[in-house]
Amino acid sequence: MTNSSSTPHDEERPELNTGFPHTARVWNYWLGGKDNFPADREAGDQVRALIPEIVDSARADRAFLGRVVRYLVGEAGIRQFLDVGTGIPTANNTHEVAQAVAPECRIVYVDNDPIVLAHARALLSSSREGVTDYIDADARDTDKLLQAAAKTLDFSQPVALMLLGILNHIVDDDQAHGIVDRLLDAVPSGSYLVIGHPTKEVHGEAMAEAMRLWNERGGTPIIDRSRQELARFFDRLELLEPGVVSCSRWRPDPADPEPVEVSEFCGVGRKP
């Protein structure tokens, strides 16, 4: 395990700041979890007042995660995942879905929030055949992230890069593309990039207003991106069908072939 030896030994350690909303905890709130605080619930309620469907969006994103991981392990033969922006553990986390199909899957979770990391380390445990590891790193620090991940993942073999709800925190386009490029450079042909990202495509002005309020409340700043902007992240890749779409509509279950569009869009690409 990396990075966990730095147990703090001073009483001056900065107190956990739960006074500002945090995306992971707001999502936890929308998904019906109880690992959240008043600032998260207030921000969550404010967004939900503008976009009542936001809860469906959060659920659709989790369902998409399940479908895409099953596809990658079951059909594309992927056995390694680098999941950046872990979030607070809920049901059907990446390693659980992956290891249910192939128990030997190796998953590295990356987050920079102390509460998320504490929960992930405590509650996300690997199958005996596979491995899970947790890295305390900022997505912007790709060197540190890749170096730490290399202790668990074999970068000569294909890796699925899971960037769900993380690039929206990288407000600057050049910086966001830089991160994606450096991660893609580190993985071999046959690797995959999965992106999940909020957009104004569905709820337009309501989403713009929700994001403006969010940023005013002092949470880490976020940004929406359009379908075209999201497609650009896949320029170097073979974009899988059906392209960049509402995550509810990415290869939906046959029982529900045309689900309602939600404001979380996604795309999956394969590195040629």
Partner: protein, 288 residues
């Protein structure tokens, strides 16, 4: 020996019935006062019913449901059955003589929980104690009671531990102060066996143990031990449990739970990561 009941005994069943009554009432926009009038009782009585603090009379349930517009006989019967079930004693009934009133609800809640987060500053958490360690703790307490009562208390604690290995067992996420692990409860042999037991426990998929190092200095939980219990039904709030010598607090108001949750998160972040625990325990074993 009986088994720890799945589903958690009367306390949790009462909380579930109460949570449903609250939902039905608020969906109709009815106040507690109005509901109280409908069953010739006070607002306070409704409050206590909805929080699962008292048992249910059939007549009260029938009248309330009628008032809330629930008239399908099958629905009424289902809730009535649950309410009657909630009035039956828990598995711990046979230990009633040594189980203080204020601790009974905890035993129920613990058995119904999906996640038990606990902080212990002085002792190894009860669910992970060896029999000898438990006996030493109880002898140390110098309770003015016959030896056979103490043995029954020990048997009860061992019974409680069976919930950790039954199907659908809860996840126990415990933070234990390093000081508690270094205190030679029961003498060297007993504490060494206890530390070995803890090392074994870290291998269980449903146990997470973090050690809060002495060198962390002052920390937000120094004031004392507490637990936060989470339940499978999302309607049920988390419950904070704080034990005192002669009584215990059960807190489920959002503001109170928020504060304890914040403290719990703070100490989890300050503690060594769970995968370091076997090494830390091994080191203490080596030094003692």
């Amino acid at each position: 020996m009986a088994e720890v009941q799945a589903g958690g005994g009367p306390t949790v069943r009462r909380m579930l019935v109460g949570a449903q009554l609250r939902r039905l009432r608020t969906e109709q926009g009815i106040t507690r006062e109005q509901a109280g009038e409908a069953i010739r009782a006070s607002e306070w009585k409704i409050h206590r019913l909805e929080n699962g603090q008292v048992g249910f009379k059939d007549r009260d349930i029938v009248d309330l449901l009628r008032f809330y517009g629930v008239d399908d006989p099958a629905d009424v019967e289902a809730l009535l059955a649950m309410a009657r079930d909630a009035n039956t004693p828990g598995w711990w009934h046979q230990y009633g003589d040594v189980l203080p009133q204020w601790f009974r609800a905890f035993v129920d809640l613990e058995a119904a929980a999906t996640l038990i987060r606990t902080y212990e500053g002085q002792l190894v958490p009860g669910l992970l104690q060896t029999e000898d360690y438990t006996r030493a703790v109880m002898r140390g307490a110098r309770l003015p009671e016959p030896a056979e009562d103490t043995e029954r208390r020990i048997a009860l604690r061992l019974m409680r531990q069976t919930l950790m290995t039954r199907p659908g067992a809860p996840h126990l996420w415990a933070v234990v102060d390093e000081g508690a692990l270094r205190r030679p409860v029961g003498g060297r042999q007993v504490i060494r066996a206890q530390l070995d037991r803890l090392i074994e426990a870290t291998e269980l998929p449903n146990v997470t143990l973090q050690v809060l190092p002495l060198r962390a200095g002052a920390h937000p939980a120094l004031v004392g031990a507490f637990s936060i219990l989470r339940f499978p039904d999302q309607d049920l709030p988390d419950v904070v449990y704080v034990e005192h010598l002669t009584n215990a607090l059960y807190l489920s108001k959002q503001e109170e739970v928020d504060q304890y949750l914040h403290v719990m998160e703070s100490i989890c972040v300050r503690s060594a990561a769970p995968d370091k625990t076997p090494e830390i325990l091994g080191k203490i074993l080596h030094e003692e």
